[in-house]
């Protein structure tokens, strides 16, 4: 028994929309042999307390992720573009909310 290796079952990432108006949000992962069973398993595992109205499942290997090592070039150049935020601009108080 101890020497028998269990074959791997595909891994799926689960995304759930908790209510209409909100985007699907990643909640975790699970294993299933195919997409149909993965969807049912996601329902049984991740929506036991009324957490969802819609489920997406995606094969984990289908996700392409940015490399954390590229964080600098990917995300830091935007930090200096403060003019993209409304608070960058001065509007006289008398004008009120704009």
């Amino acid at each position: 028994m101890s020497d028998v290796k269990t074959p791997n079952t595909p891994l799926w990432e689960v995304f759930i929309r908790s209510r209409n108006g909100l985007a699907h949000k990643h909640v975790g992962s699970l294993h299933a042999a195919d997409a149909t069973m993965a969807l049912q398993a996601a329902r049984d595992l991740y929506t036991r307390r009324g957490e969802g109205l819609s489920i997406w499942i995606v094969p984990s290997h289908a996700i392409t992720a940015s490399d954390p090592a590229d964080k600098g070039m990917m995300f830091e150049p935007t930090v200096s573009k403060v003019y993209r935020h409304p608070t960058f601009y001065d509007v006289p108080d008398e004008v009120g909310h704009m």
Partner: protein, 344 residues
């Protein structure tokens, strides 16, 4: 706690890899700044190894932990109790799954981790190697074991490793009904017939000491704690958590009219801030102190010699073996469908 096996280093550390000192220092800075570490981030190999072991042991504990309570699902004395117990044991399967998913982000597959459990290579909490002999054990487990677990798990919601912390937030949210469910069973028994009350006392007598042991060896003996604390995996020491648990437990037992089976139990009045979250007795703040714990029993149970170690593992092995044909069929069907799709 659910990861007591960490206290017994059973796997030799691999040859120390030469890690970039700069990366390591930056990693520690991030941890110190309470930043969360995510799956693809650089992390020291030892951090990865410790977490993989801790999270998988935690998952194993949930999965093995289904069995002692599963033992009473078919005998629950009312339909309400039957439904709640089934939902609770099912939650434990769910929590095992959340935790395996978190552990897998560190690079080991669920199948590998599960095979380690079945082969006896991986550890799980000592507590689940005790038998459930009467219905009152369902009350005692919910009240005491889940009560102890929640003490341990709440700080883990702030663990430095993001996927683990998120899994624990979900687990803690869902587990909040587990302890109440158990205590409610105890209340019903203690308000019931003399036989029922005796059943409740007997369950407390059997579960009290194993629950104190659940928190793991006293602080001085725990080999992994210091590093885990620096890495902000562990926020409180074994003894601190055990103390919190006991301070909460004493008044709950008193309310039930049950006696803790601990002749050495005593109240130690304290002073000032040291005990601000301690217990209250006769208007004085302080801490309840337990008598000596039989650590020899703890080590024996962890080493595989508890009353139910063999049954627990063999039940899971049997289920896994009996289910092999189902998993093979699902894989074969998926392969056929994929082939047809490609051909189409």
């Amino acid at each position: 706690m659910y990861t007591q096996g960490l206290s017994n280093p059973d796997a030799p550390a691999p040859a120390k890899a030469v890690e970039d000192a700069g990366l390591a220092a930056r990693f520690q800075d991030r941890v110190d700044a309470e930043e969360r570490i995510e799956a693809n981030d650089w992390m020291p190999e030892a951090y990865r190894r410790t977490l993989t072991r801790q999270i998988s042991q935690h998952a194993h504990s949930e999965i093995i932990g289904m069995l002692p309570e599963g033992n009473w699902v078919t005998r629950a004395p009312t339909l309400r109790r039957k439904a709640t117990l089934l939902a609770k044991v099912q939650d434990e399967a769910g929590h095992g799954l959340y935790l395996y998913a978190a552990a897998e982000t560190l690079g080991r597959s669920r199948e590998e981790m599960f095979d380690d459990l079945l082969s006896g290579k991986a550890k799980y909490s000592s507590i689940f190697n005790y038998p459930t002999l009467t219905w009152a054990d369902m009350g005692a487990i919910g009240w005491l074991v889940d009560g102890a677990a929640i003490m341990n798990q709440i700080p883990l919601c702030r663990c430095s490793y993001g996927p683990y912390a998120r899994a624990m937030i979900r687990v803690c949210k869902e587990e909040s009904f587990h302890q109440r469910q158990g205590y409610e069973i105890m209340v019903a028994l203690c308000r019931g017939t003399p036989e029922q009350k005796a059943m409740a006392q007997d369950a407390l007598d059997r579960w009290y000491w194993p629950c104190l042991m659940m928190f793991g060896p006293p602080d001085g003996d725990s080999t992994h704690s210091d590093q885990s604390t620096r890495w902000k995996i562990k926020r409180f020491s074994n003894d601190e958590l055990r103390q919190k648990f006991l301070d909460a437990l004493v008044p709950q037992a008193e309310y039930l009219g049950l006696t803790l089976p601990d002749p050495g139990l005593r109240f130690e009045p304290g002073a000032g801030d040291a005990v601000k979250d301690g217990a209250m007795k006769d208007g004085v703040r302080g801490h309840w102190r337990h008598g000596p714990i039989n650590w020899d029993e703890f080590r024996q149970v962890l080493a595989g010699n508890g009353p139910c170690n063999r049954e627990r593992i063999s039940a899971r092995r049997r289920a896994h073996k009996d289910g092999a044909w189902v998993r093979e069929a699902a894989a074969a069907y998926a392969a056929k469908q994929a082939k047809q799709k490609r051909a189409a």
